[in-house]
Structure formats: structure tokens, C-alpha cells
């Protein structure tokens, strides 16, 4: 193996990796609980996925195939730079195909293609504490988790209903893991919440906040809701303008300055695969201005 001798395998030193691995092991044993860890400075700014990168670095082996996505896309700045980082420091194979990847680092999406056993999904998490915007003190939120005191979260969802007529939270939608811990699934759209019960291992890394948490395969993950206002995964009410899919999460793209817009799959690999196999949009009008916006 040709190895860049300037870096240890996967960048981090061995003692740091052991520390992260111990945290990951405990995170796996206590699904949804945020394990504190000694997050390191990484050669990228906080907010660019330093938590996810550290978790990936602790998990990667030379035989892994890595995929990195940012909001579903393989070709955005964040995804490209993290992929290059591991190509350089760990010499791992990289791919854009969800199916071919053994480890996928993601920012704010779960791939459309169902993941299988043996795959690992690593999330980049900005604020791991679901109660943080309701209670700023760490000492208090820690106590609330210990006592399973999650009433405040239900009040927040209720206030949504009182104000908007429905639960307006559309991303980072809180979930309860295996009936115990309320967890922030990172800012994935709530469309992705039902996929949180999956066959693959899910690991969450928050670098600035120094927390790691995990969901083992086939763990029960329930989106919080009320009997009379059940949880509803939502998406834009359109089909993809490129591949015609009506079951995927869509990005809205403004295409001109007259209010023209199109909706396309946020998962670029899924959309490209569908197009390659002959899927086409149902309607042809993609860049026609629809209703002109004032």
C-alpha cells in the first residue's frame, strides 16, 4: 500500500482514536444517549463536520469505501473536501454510489436507497441536545434526560399546533429512541425520520459540542407527536423534474429571475441512477415560469 507518511492512517493519532472508540462503544450500548468525548481540533472549521469526520476517522479501515454527502449531494463543497481529506489521509476508496459504500458520512440527509447490514451512516451534528433551545443550561438538560423529563418538548410541539394549526417543526424533528432518550436526529428533514429505523449502524458526531451518540440497527425510533396530531413526514408536493420520482425528498431550485423554479431530488446519486435507468419526468415543463411571484 502506498501510504502518505506525513499522516497517521485516517489523520488522528492512535490515542485519540481509542478515546473516540470507547465513546462509540458506550454510545452503542445506550442508544440515543449523548456520550461526552474530547473532541479535537480538526483541519477544518467547526460547522463543517468536525464531529462526523472524527467519528469516520475512528471507524475507517483501509478496505472501506467512503461516500460523503451534503444535503444529499455528492458534489457540494463540504462533501468534496471531506472526501478528499480521507482520500489523502486514509487512502480509502471513495464512491458516489450509496450501494457501493461501506461507510457514508452525511450532512442533513439519509440516502433514499435503503441501507443494508454492514453499512455505517455517520451524521454531522451541529447541536446534539434536542432540549437546548428550550433550556440553555447543560446541567439542567442533563438532569432532564436522567429523569426522562421531556414535558418541555411536548409543550414546544403543542405551541406549534396552537400557533400554526400543525407541528411546524420540519427538520431536526425530535425522536424517542427505544422508549428512553429523546434525541436530535441532526437537521435531517422530517421526511427522513421514518428511515431512522434501519439495518445499518448510525453514528452521530458533534465536534464543537463534544458529543457522540448512536442508534444500533433495528432500534425503535419514534417521532414525537400527539394522538390527534400524528407525525407526518412531509415533502414538496411535486415530482422530481429530472427523474420524475414522486417519493423522494426534493430541493427547490430557482431557475430564472421571473419566479421560474424546478424541484429536483436532493439525493443526487439516487436521481442520477434513476435517470441512467431511463426514468424521466412525467411533465416536460421544467423551467417554465409557474405562478409569477410578486
Amino acid at each position: 500500500m502506498t501510504q502518505d507518511t506525513h499522516y497517521n492512517f485516517a489523520y488522528l493519532d492512535e490515542q485519540t482514536k481509542r478515546m473516540i472508540r470507547r465513546a462509540l462503544l458506550k454510545a452503542m450500548a445506550i442508544p440515543g444517549y449523548q456520550v461526552p468525548f474530547a473532541s479535537r481540533e480538526m483541519p477544518m472549521p467547526y460547522g463543517w463536520g468536525t464531529g462526523g469526520v472524527q467519528v469516520s476517522a475512528a471507524c475507517l479501515t483501509p478496505s472501506d469505501t467512503l461516500k460523503v454527502i451534503d444535503q444529499g449531494a455528492d458534489d457540494t463543497t463540504n462533501a468534496v473536501s471531506i472526501r478528499k481529506f480521507f482520500e489523502k489521509t486514509a487512502q480509502v476508496a471513495t464512491t458516489e454510489s450509496t450501494r457501493a459504500a461501506s461507510l457514508i458520512q452525511t450532512r442533513h440527509r439519509i440516502p433514499e436507497e435503503p441501507l443494508r447490514e454492514g453499512q455505517i451512516l455517520v451524521y454531522q451534528v451541529p447541536i446534539p441536545e434536542p432540549l437546548r433551545f428550550l433550556e440553555p443550561r447543560e446541567t439542567e438538560t442533563r438532569k432532564m434526560h436522567a429523569l426522562q423529563d421531556y414535558g418541555l418538548m411536548h409543550v414546544k410541539l403543542y405551541e406549534d399546533i396552537a400557533r400554526h394549526g400543525n407541528i411546524a417543526t420540519s427538520y431536526a424533528y425530535p425522536v424517542k429512541v427505544q422508549g428512553r432518550y429523546v434525541m436530535d436526529p441532526s437537521p435531517i428533514p422530517k421526511f427522513d425520520n421514518p428511515k431512522l429505523r434501519m439495518a445499518a449502524i448510525q453514528l452521530f458526531g458533534a465536534g464543537r459540542e463534544q458529543r457522540i451518540y448512536a442508534i444500533p440497527p433495528y432500534t425503535d425510533v419514534v417521532s414525537l407527536d400527539f394522538e390527534d396530531h400524528p407525525f407526518e413526514p412531509s415533502k414538496a408536493n411535486h415530482a422530481c423534474s429530472l427523474c420524475g420520482a414522486d417519493h423522494t425528498y426534493l430541493d427547490e431550485v430557482i431557475v430564472d429571475d421571473r419566479g421560474g423554479r424546478m424541484f429536483v431530488c436532493s439525493d443526487t446519486d439516487y436521481c442520477a441512477t434513476r435517470q441512467a435507468t431511463g426514468a424521466a419526468p412525467a411533465q416536460t415543463a421544467t423551467s417554465q415560469p409557474q405562478e409569477a411571484q410578486p
Binding site: R18, L25, M28, R142, Y181
Partner: protein, 189 residues
Amino acid sequence: MQNTALTGGFENAPVQSAIAFRACLEAMARPGTLHQLDGGAAPAPCSAAAATALLTFCDAETPLFLAPSHDSPDMRDWLAFHIGASLVAPENAMFALGTWDSLQPLSRFAIGTPDYPDRSATLIIELPSLSASGARLTGPGIKEHAHLSLPSVPEFQQNAARFPLGWDALFTCGHQLAALPRSTKIEAS
């Protein structure tokens, strides 16, 4: 110093520890599954899997309890050279190594606190045999149910009953590894 103390570490630590960790992560994520774990070799009676687990997770930051079954001058020399963990009483241990009988009573090990359930021990339990049969397991990581040859059932049921508190177990036998987190529900079968 005996020669055995200087050998048995990883030859290529970054790669071997990464492969070993993935086996441990998969084992902990899917209770009841068996995994190959080797690369390390410690003085007898320590198994290759247990030695590899120690090399993967332990260092000077992890107080270790060495149960009487594994506490020998050779083993202490090996730990001092390769790992550097301080050897402590069961109450203070982050990791513990021994046979099922010599680790008893298990009530001595840390189970974490309600605020920090992660501050709990991980037991590396050496078993004479390991197979995916016996006690019936359900819970996180298990699609329907799984089976694992546990050395005893009541202790693990008791441990699972106090979730999210509790210790977690790695089972080692030769080159084989299985794991049982506190989150798994256990029924005798």
C-alpha cells in the same frame, strides 16, 4: 523481563486496531453475532480476542481490573509494556478482564450514574466456548431475536433491568468475539 512481555502487540497499530474496532462495534451493535477478533497475543490464559480488545480500547487513560484468573506477573509485564493501564480495584475500573467466575461478584463494577450512564465498566469476559445459541436476546440491534451462549442468565437480566445504567460485556473465546450491551433483553431458553 520475560520475552513474552515484549511481543504480541499490533505490528501495524493504525490498521489492525481499526479492523479490530470495527469487529467490536459490529458485535456491540448486533448482540448475538460472532466476530473474528485477532492481531494481539498476550500471555496465557488470555485469549487472542481479549488481548486484541485490550490493545484496541485500553491505554494509560483507562483503569483496568485484572481478575485473579488473568493476574500473573507475565500478564502484568505485558500490560505495562503494551498498554500502560493502571491496575485498579473493580470499583474503579473502566475495563475488566477475567473469566466469568473470577469476575464475580459483578455488583462491584461501575454502572454509571443517571446523569452519566456512560461512566460504567466494560467487562471482557473470557469464555471456554462461544456460540450463537442459548439465551434468547431481543432489543436494539436485533431484528427479531438472537441467541447467545451466556455463562449465566440472571446476572444479565438484572443488569438489563436497570437500563440506562449498567455495565456492558464483551465475550471472548480464542479468536472469537461477541458482545452484550445493557440494552438487550434476555430470556432463558
